[in-house]
């Protein structure tokens, strides 16, 4: 295999990396409203458009609700579309999240993960990503700035595939990735990227010569069939996502898969988590291995559709599972990823000891001593849910 695409090694923050990916995707329409910590994305994209470096329409809407509404309209019209938001902005879009996936519009959105109010907080939680988990969007989680860049390009290929036609979210941890500068490779120009991501070929775009009614009223006699079809669509996207990961590896040299694992083969205890904290856990796992502790880690790059077969394959032999949630589902049996993992285990007839760790809400730093504490708790207590590092 030889990689022929020209790449540049540079240092960017996560927001800038996403902006470059969107530029390299040669999008047609950007519709967004500023919100911390996503703002740098749309600032950079505005610069690209205003300086003539990207031939796109930038719609500076008056709210996130309109940001996604306009993105949906533009996507139905046949354009390659981008939007970005965070936290409260995602909450304001909520109604349109479901409409976008139901209308099978391949909108791509970057989500700078941030806590929901109140109290108002601009830092990282996965509240917003989880809030969108039932909305029928494909969701990717980036662990690094490089992944934020790559997954944005991958998301376009997946979303616009005529056998998928679903919107995608690329999650990147607020501040921890959005504002941190890291080294990454970006492609030298959009022209070359078009070999991986050609111009969008929309299926059934708005066309007066072929008048289609988009978004009609469907009552009990048809609603359920339409929803059944949508459920199938997101499950069926998984093989296509895997194929696109493979093609991206051929194109860029960088390998992606629905989940990343380290030291799982003989692990007694496996950590399962999403987002940028995976690197810290991996670092700790290496340390624990040096101490002869049989610990492994699984981090999910693909969150929706939930990669259940891959997850089960990875964790089926572990005695203890630590599921880390950077959010909480109030009044539920536990955090959101905990519920995903627990129900998957049950579905496959497995019942290991499972501990739900709630960590890092509102940007609280996840440090090595907290990781040590989680490892201690899973083997030495029978607690089910712990809020790690909370006073009191």
């Amino acid at each position: 295999m030889s990689i022929t695409v020209r790449q540049i090694r540079t240092g960017l923050n996560g927001d800038e990396a996403v902006a470059y990916a969107v530029k390299h995707a040669n999008v047609d329409v950007i519709s967004a409203y500023p919100i911390t910590p996503q703002t740098i994305i749309v600032e950079r994209l505005s610069e690209f458009v205003y300086n003539g470096e990207l031939d796109a329409e930038f719609i500076p809407v008056e709210s996130e609700h309109s940001a996604l509404s306009a993105a949906l309209g533009a996507s139905l019209a046949g354009a390659r579309v981008f939007t970005a938001t965070a936290s409260q902005g995602l909450a304001l879009m909520y109604e349109i999240l479901y409409i976008t996936s139901s209308l099978r519009a391949p909108v791509v959105m970057a989500l700078g993960n941030r806590a929901f109010s109140a109290p108002i907080n601009i830092h990282c939680s996965h509240d917003d990503a989880y809030a969108a988990r039932d909305a029928g969007w494909i969701q990717f989680f980036a662990e690094t700035v490089q992944e934020a860049y790559d997954l944005t390009l991958i998301a376009y290929r997946v979303s616009e595939d005529r056998d998928v036609l679903l919107p995608s979210i690329i999650n990147l941890d607020g501040f921890i990735l959005t504002h941190s500068v890291e080294p990454l490779n970006i492609f030298a120009d959009s022209e070359e990227v078009s070999r991986f991501l050609p111009e969008r070929k929309p299926v059934n775009p708005i066309d007066p010569d072929n008048p289609i009614t988009y978004g009609p009223l469907a009552l009990p006699d048809y609603y359920m069939e339409i929803k059944r079809q949508q459920a199938e669509a997101i499950y069926s996207s998984k093989p296509i996502i895997n194929r696109v990961f493979e093609e991206y590896k051929e194109f860029s040299g960088r390998r992606y898969s629905p989940l990343k694992t380290l030291y799982i083969d003989d692990a007694e205890t496996i950590f399962v988590l999403l987002g940028s904290t995976a690197g810290t856990i991996r670092h700790m796992v290496r340390k624990w291995r040096r101490e002869n502790k049989r610990v492994g880690v699984v981090s999910l790059t693909l969150y929706r559709p939930f990669p259940e077969e891959e997850l089960i394959e990875a964790i089926k032999d572990a005695k203890n599972i630590v599921v880390m949630d950077r959010s909480f589902s109030y009044g539920s049996p536990g955090g959101q990823l905990f519920m995903d993992v627990s129900s998957t285990l049950l579905k496959y007839g497995l019942s290991p000891r499972i501990l739900n760790v709630i960590y890092g809400l509102g940007g609280r730093d996840f440090t090595p001593d907290l990781a040590e504490k989680a490892l201690h708790l899973v083997v030495e207590t029978d607690e089910k849910i712990v809020w790690l590092g909370v006073r009191g």
């Binding site: 139901s102 209308l103 099978r104 519009a105 036609l165 299926v203 059934n204 008048p211 289609i212 009614t213 988009y214 978004g215 009609p216 469907a218 048809y222 359920m224 069939e225 339409i226 059944r228 079809q229 199938e232 669509a233």
Partner: protein, 96 residues
């Protein structure tokens, strides 16, 4: 008459209706309790009934006289009301 698929996997994706004007098959004429009857002797071809009908149920003939599409006419009576020459009568359904 459009034959619409019945199975979930066969429906057009995204819940769209990909055939225009499928509603013309719907017989809204059953809504009617009174029917408009046109007396062409009085019609002056002003077309106020035609332009005002919410259901396109006034048929504009080649010579601009009008007829009624009873398959769709809901019997609202606007046509009779707007007619400047009282050329349209609303007649109770049932007897005919």
């Amino acid at each position: 008459m459009v034959k619409w698929p019945n199975k979930w996997m066969e429906l057009p994706i995204g819940g769209v209706i990909n055939v225009p004007a499928t509603s013309v098959d719907v017989k809204t004429g059953t809504w009617r309790s009174h029917r408009p009857v046109v007396n062409l002797d009085k019609c002056i071809k002003c077309l106020m009934c035609w332009v005002s009908c919410p259901d396109n149920s006034i048929i504009r003939l080649d010579d601009d006289y009008v007829d009624v599409d009873y398959y769709h006419c809901k019997g609202c009576g606007i046509c009779a009301n707007v007619c400047p020459t009282d050329a349209i009568d609303m007649v109770e359904e049932g007897g005919i």
